[in-house]
Symmetry: C2
């Protein structure tokens, strides 16, 4: 049984970082940050651009507040997020059977519908900000989910508030995971590995990249995970950075590159493995071993306090020494969580150090057109004094 | 064989509407509009918020231009979109095997990588705007995909250009579909119907909502479609607006409500059907028949030139006369295309009239907590002189 999704946010880190930035409150507006901060999955904003949902999180003791369209109040009732104050906006018609004995979720929904609806999302947010004494406050607002029109309306309604763009702030908060998040990330990593196994189980001459994608995705949805990124390339197509499955069929000696990810209970996976139908060429085997050793090197050296830039340099240097002397990369990985790329980006220029409970994807892809794409990517967690893998699949080139 | 995805945009409509709005150029920035306008699927912006891709479409004869991150140039080469001018930005390392005989896509990618990279997405867009003589122009810019930071940079770099928010403009363009779009929408409708059939095929006592969701999603991914919206509710849970599948198991007499959609080649489906395990209660049967007749009424009256508000009123009135006198709705449907909600919204206040080749979802959901959710939703196309269904599943309540 997995931990409840109700409170996954790293609230203590959020409060520390908000104090440092001098925020009186923060507001989440994009799907990832709304779900992260409140536990509430506002379906409409996940499946389209435009629908507005917000979480106002005051930092001086007032209760946090969720702003949601009336048309998703059933989800509020059903999910029962830990943020209990809900302000709804807009009209939506739901009837109630007067003779029925309502269950818990239906009763909760009925109560939500009995509250007054604000005209629009910003009206609800403005009212909450005013009532919590924040109308003259400094508010860190995630600028990526609110529409420009709503932002105009918000600043006009609160001329004495100071709004600071805070998408980067939320990213920094999310960089260090809570125990609940790690449990989900471990689960989604396992499901994704299982899907790679399911795809490789059908590997034989004549099978197409699309056939393998279908096997991969089928395994994901059978495990209640959603396909997100599915790059599967055979032979020279494996060198395509984002290889989208085609009708190209598998031939003996082909390299198969997976760079794949899924979403489970809103959290993302991202990993890479290579396989070969029959014996690989010496060049593929040697190149793959080099990129593999780059990733394995990270297990020897990662610990809290390490400079991310040092990790980058060590991994790149390892790949170069182990067989690809001209290996170059902009980054060799990134954080992962409710978004596919959380901080830190593992690059030469990253100023941060590693912290305990960061979850990282470490990857060393090498793309050579006309030859192949060689990639190993592991999901791992920075522990108190080292590192732990969230993976179980061997990193070595798999022969199928 | 489906039509090529390379040119699905309604370019003549775009040019007419742009003339009316006095635009010298338009810029697409959100995933839907970038893919719509160029045929290019910029994966990174589809799976996350933040990655930038643009299409500049000048209206005075200059060539359109695609702006893309260097890390997705393989997708440009592989997809070969009809917009041929590509400006890339950012660093990404791809090598080339000097001894290899590159295939068409790899050669195209190599050529793209040989072009100079701009530092950032806005640098590339600014250069394109200047070179096409639009630096003093009136530019309709989709405000939903560009970050506020990039928007600041753009307006600072082009102080004499006038930027007008154009997400609504793109929605109006997209409202009338091309033949290629209709073909894809028909296909995704068919695949989604097949998935409903697959889900109902496992209906028996003890099966859970999640089991049925898995059967539904498995059928989708087996047909290369992606799950997007999956609301499946049994019994009283069917009354939840966005019923998310739970462990609730099916019991004899339960209503099953599907309100489901998928994505295939970027285009969306959205449809609803009801079924019952065994005989429905008289109340369910009568209520379902009422909402069904509301949808069927639309087939009698839809034609180009009809006021959308009249369609709303006729459908609502039909449901009221046929058995739910207190039926109320904010809308009884919407357009659908590359986004799940295209114009027109079928509401009382919509000023537009129907046009040939609009593709509509007509729906009459009735939610009653403690009782059930009754819903029929059809995808249909406005034809030259009437209407054509994109559906084949009967609308009647299915007994399983």
């Amino acid at each position: 049984m997995l931990a409840s999704a109700s409170r996954l946010a790293n609230v203590s880190r959020l409060e520390d970082l908000a104090k440092r930035d001098g925020f009186d409150a923060v507001v989440a507006t994009c799907p990832e940050n709304v779900t992260y901060l409140s536990g509430f999955w506002a379906m409409s904003q996940w499946v389209r651009r435009g629908p507005q949902a917000y979480v106002l999180y005051p930092l001086k003791g007032e209760e946090p507040c969720l702003v949601a369209d009336s048309g998703i109040l059933d989800l509020v009732a059903d999910q029962d997020p830990w943020v209990k104050e809900v302000r709804r906006y807009g009209y939506f018609q739901v009837n109630v059977d007067p003779g029925a004995d309502l269950d818990h979720a239906d009763s909760a929904q009925q109560l939500l519908f009995e509250t007054d609806a604000y005209a629009g999302s910003v009206d609800a947010l403005v009212a909450a900000i005013k009532e919590k004494g924040l109308a003259k406050g400094r508010v860190g607002l995630d600028e990526t989910g609110i529409t420009p029109q709503c932002m105009d309306q918000l600043t006009a309604a609160l001329p004495n508030a100071t709004f600071v763009r805070a998408f980067g702030f939320f990213q920094r908060v999310r960089a260090v995971k809570t125990a609940g998040e790690i449990e989900i990330l471990r689960h989604v990593a396992g499901v994704t590995e299982q899907a790679i196994e399911a795809a490789l189980a059908i590997a034989e001459e004549g099978v197409s990249e699309r056939d393998m994608m279908r096997a991969f995705n089928t395994c994901l949805v059978q495990n209640d995970a959603a396909p997100v990124v599915g790059c599967i390339g055979f032979g020279n197509r494996s060198a395509m950075i984002n290889a989208q499955p085609s009708e190209r069929t598998l031939r003996r000696g082909d390299l198969i590159r997976f760079d794949v990810g899924a979403r489970y209970r809103h959290y993302r996976s991202d990993m890479s493995r290579g396989a070969c139908l029959g014996e690989p060429s010496r060049r593929v085997a040697a190149g793959y071993a080099a990129v593999e050793k780059g990733v394995l090197r990270s297990y020897d050296i990662i610990k809290p306090g390490m400079k991310v830039a040092d990790l980058f340099n060590a991994v790149v240097e390892t790949v170069r020494c182990e067989g690809i002397p001209h290996f170059r990369r902009s980054h060799v990985g990134h954080g992962i969580g409710i978004d596919g790329y959380d901080p830190p980006t593992i690059s030469e220029k990253t100023p941060e150090v590693l912290e305990e409970d960061m979850v990282l994807c470490v990857e060393t892809p090498y793309y050579e057109l006309g030859f192949a794409g060689l990639q190993v990517e592991d999901m791992l967690r920075v522990t108190k004094d080292g590192v732990e893998s969230l993976m179980t699949l061997p990193t070595a080139l798999r022969i199928v």
